[in-house]
């Protein structure tokens, strides 16, 4: 079914197509429309599921976990501060091995108060054990929700999965996309059959106290799940392409990398914008390629090592920052390359808090990276002045304003 819809409504339509049975959620801009649409579909009899309006994001995630453990296919959606608020339960979902999918509409964390796009919210959940996809198009939003359940419910994975989509750029933008019919999806993604579930007839506790004697093992088991996911992701994405004819990459997506001298590495819609950069710079005779990281967790270690062997330099775009260090993708990418490649890597920080990032800006920075003018870390669109900083001069200015 071809539709013209917002990214948020497409998430809801994908959730219905995936045969989701329980949706606990709490609204937060810019995610609210996901929940509105799901609630509307259920209330109108167009989706056979239980909608649980809860009193907070923390409870939303708790209900999500509980629903999943009773054997239901469960989904929720959140954003930014909502995700931060549920942080404790985000860890819990992975630790208890609940195969759920959650859409996170990527948004900056305040203060300064800001509802617009960057990746700080989900990057801050990096170490929780969730699988993380970052999508670059509306079509990929739909396909990733469906692929997501197939991946997370695989018995060798059993770790929750977060589908991250850029606020407004995807969430509130109308575009044309293909939503598969429920019947088509059912064959690819049959109803969830848990191998065990919580059942009051056979009471057990799950996720209870684990003593030091066994704790490391539970954590290592999560890492085994992440490692297994690399294989499962490739299989699921390949099968999905066979059934539905759509391919967005698996762990990563490459565009004109084979003969490239420099690779732009990016996640989310900045990768989509960078596709245009590649086309523009190739017309200038510059051999540029795009390497889009689709799965940030598990991190595409092998793919990046292969990239390191093929290109002469790498420009990593981060729409986040790890304070006291550098962009998170930059750190991770260098970690993967360590001991395998000495290719120079540069970091471009852009698009924080919804700052518009044009292909012209990325192209300009890429030209500078090629000519060696770009420093190790560049805040590409920041116009910082002393008045933005915590300085005595700034305080004096402020006092003058107060009179």
């Amino acid at each position: 079914m071809r539709v013209l819809e917002t990214g948020n409504h497409l998430v809801a339509l994908a959730v219905r197509a995936a045969g989701v049975e329980v949706v606990p959620a709490y609204p937060i801009t810019p995610q609210t429309q996901v929940i509105e649409k799901v609630a509307e579909l259920i209330a109108g009899g167009h989706m056979d599921a239980e909608y649980i309006p809860v009193e907070s994001e923390h409870s939303a995630c708790a209900a999500l976990i509980a629903a999943s453990l009773t054997g239901a296919r469960a989904f929720s959606a959140t954003s930014a501060h909502g995700l931060a608020y549920m942080h404790e339960m985000v860890h819990f979902a992975a630790g208890i091995r609940a195969p759920v999918v959650m859409a996170n509409i990527n948004r900056a964390l305040g203060p300064g108060w800001n509802i617009w796009c960057d990746h700080q919210d989900s990057i801050s959940q990096r170490d929780t054990g969730w699988l993380q996809i970052y999508v670059a198009s509306h079509q990929e939003v739909i396909d990733s929700v469906i692929q997501g359940f197939k991946i997370t419910e695989n018995w060798s994975v059993m770790l929750p999965l977060m589908v991250n989509l850029d606020a407004f750029v995807l969430s509130h933008t109308y575009t044309d996309a293909e939503v598969p019919e429920i019947e088509e999806v059912r064959e690819f993604l049959p109803p969830y059959k848990p191998r065990w579930k919580l059942d009051p007839r056979f009471p057990v506790t799950h996720g209870s106290v684990v003593y030091p004697d066994d704790f490391s093992e539970t954590r290592q088991s999560m890492q085994i799940g992440q490692n297994n996911a690399r294989r499962v992701i490739k299989e699921v994405c390949r099968d999905y392409a066979e059934v539905f004819g759509r391919w967005h990459g698996d762990m990563v997506e490459e565009y004109l990398i084979d003969d490239a001298e420099i690779a732009i590495v990016a996640m989310g819609t900045l990768a989509s914008e960078s596709r245009v950069v590649v086309d523009v710079l190739r017309q200038e005779g510059l051999r540029v390629g795009l390497f889009r990281i689709r799965f940030f967790r598990p991190f595409p270690i092998e793919e990046i090592r292969s990239l390191g062997e093929r290109v002469k330099s790498i420009l990593v775009i981060d729409r986040n920052y790890s304070y006291g260090m550098e962009g998170a993708v930059f750190t991770e990418l260098k970690g993967a390359l360590y001991g395998f490649s000495n290719v120079p890597v540069r970091n471009l920080i852009v698009g924080l808090g919804g700052r518009d990032v044009s292909y012209e800006l990325i192209a300009d920075m890429t030209r500078k990276a090629i000519s060696g003018e770009l420093g190790e870390i560049t805040w590409g669109d920041s116009r910082i002045t002393p008045s933005h900083r915590v300085t005595l001069e700034c305080l004096e200015e402020f006092k003058k304003l107060l009179g």
């Binding site: 013209l4 810019p30 509802i115 617009w116 198009s137 850029d166 407004f168 750029v169 509130h172 933008t173 109308y174 575009t175 044309d176 819609t269 900045l270 989509s272 914008e273 596709r275 245009v276 518009d356 990032v357 044009s358 292909y359």
Partner: protein, 194 residues
């Protein structure tokens, strides 16, 4: 690729207008992208919205600085609209009468195309809470001026919203918009056939 940037005021239906235009293009087989710049939304505050149309899937996601058409829905945001950027070949389409359009054309030293959508909306009784529904005639104007689709497609798009009101008013206003865009520097009507 064809790009439009629209400027207006909260309550004028700017975002709805751009979404309708996207639907018109979608109905004739184009790939489309329609998005507002969201801020603290309130009635009367400046609003901007963007529209991209192409025969192939669209990779660009950034805001539009050099649109093919700059659509100005309220004369009070002309300054904001111009500050946001234009290309050499950007065509200006403004909700204004001839007098205002001529003033703007003289100021900018370029032709300005115009439609008095406010008058058309009021003449057809299209009002919501005292605000003229300028987006109905302007949808007609944009779809014809940007050569998106024939007039019938405009009415297909307006079918659902028009059912909630007076269908004849919607149709007359959209038709007036579609067929009466004029430009300074010429006596001709920009589009005379659907």
């Amino acid at each position: 690729m064809f790009q439009v940037r629209a400027h207006g005021l909260g309550g004028q239906g700017v975002v709805t207008l751009v979404t309708w235009a996207a639907e018109a293009a979608y109905r004739v087989g184009k790939h489309v992208q329609a998005f507002p710049f969201f801020s603290a939304e309130r009635r009367g505050a400046p609003v901007k919205a963007y529209l991209r149309m192409d025969d192939k899937p669209i990779s660009l996601r950034s805001q539009i600085k050099k649109p093919d058409i700059l659509l100005v829905i309220s004369s009070s945001v002309v300054g904001l609209a111009l500050d946001e950027g234009m290309g050499e070949n950007t065509k200006i389409l403004i909700n204004a009468d001839l007098e205002l359009a001529q003033k703007l054309a003289e100021h900018l030293v370029r032709d300005v195309c115009y439609l008095d959508a406010t008058t058309i909306a009021l003449e057809n009784g299209l009002e919501v809470d005292g605000m003229p529904m300028v987006n109905v005639p302007l949808l007609g104007a944009l779809v014809s001026f940007a050569k998106i689709a024939p007039f019938e497609v405009v009415m297909d798009v307006l079918d659902m919203p028009a059912r909630g009101g007076n269908y004849r008013s919607f149709k007359n206003a959209a038709k007036a918009g579609y067929f009466s865009v004029r430009c300074t520097g010429t006596e001709e009507i920009a589009v005379s056939e659907g």
